[in-house]
Symmetry: C2
Subunit: 69 residues, 2 copies
Amino acid sequence: MNNRVRQLRGEFKITQERLADRLGVSRQTVISIENGRYNPSLVLAYKIAKIFACSIEEVFDFSEVEIGE
Amino acid sequence: MNNRVRQLRGEFKITQERLADRLGVSRQTVISIENGRYNPSLVLAYKIAKIFACSIEEVFDFSEVEIGE
DNA sequence: ACTTAACGTTAAGTACACTTTACATATTAG
DNA sequence: CTAATATGTAAAGTGTACTTAACGTTAAGT
């Protein structure tokens, strides 16, 4: 799933390390999310969105998520 | 973290099994989420919200989530 | 030339999201 | 009374979100 974390972090001009500190996670976690290795947990996604003054849906791209009948 | 899944499922009058089918997960997963055993993944949270025509933040209560300095 | 800052990788470990199977209980329908 | 429906619990297994630690690269500052 694509996300706008790297873009938003650029707009807010903060480093991965600074973002990781604010989120309370390791720098590796920020790298992994930015590089699409895995998706954040629900709570972490929420924290990311709030730091960038967005909703979760504005940061993460759910357009490829399919929902059944 | 609290959520409104059980309440919304009641309003939409569908069973846990039916919801699980639409989400593509097991019934146990729905039970665990409704009963607060654990939080859904980001993608699952999105699917739940869409089925009930809500945003993620309208379904899940993030009021106790703290964000650092 | 050397250092520091920022970003990235790899690897091994822990915790949790989710699965399957099996069984228990309460309520409702025939 | 019996059977079906809906909800719940327990246990053991798999995959992924996240951690720590160590190391490599590139660009900027002095």
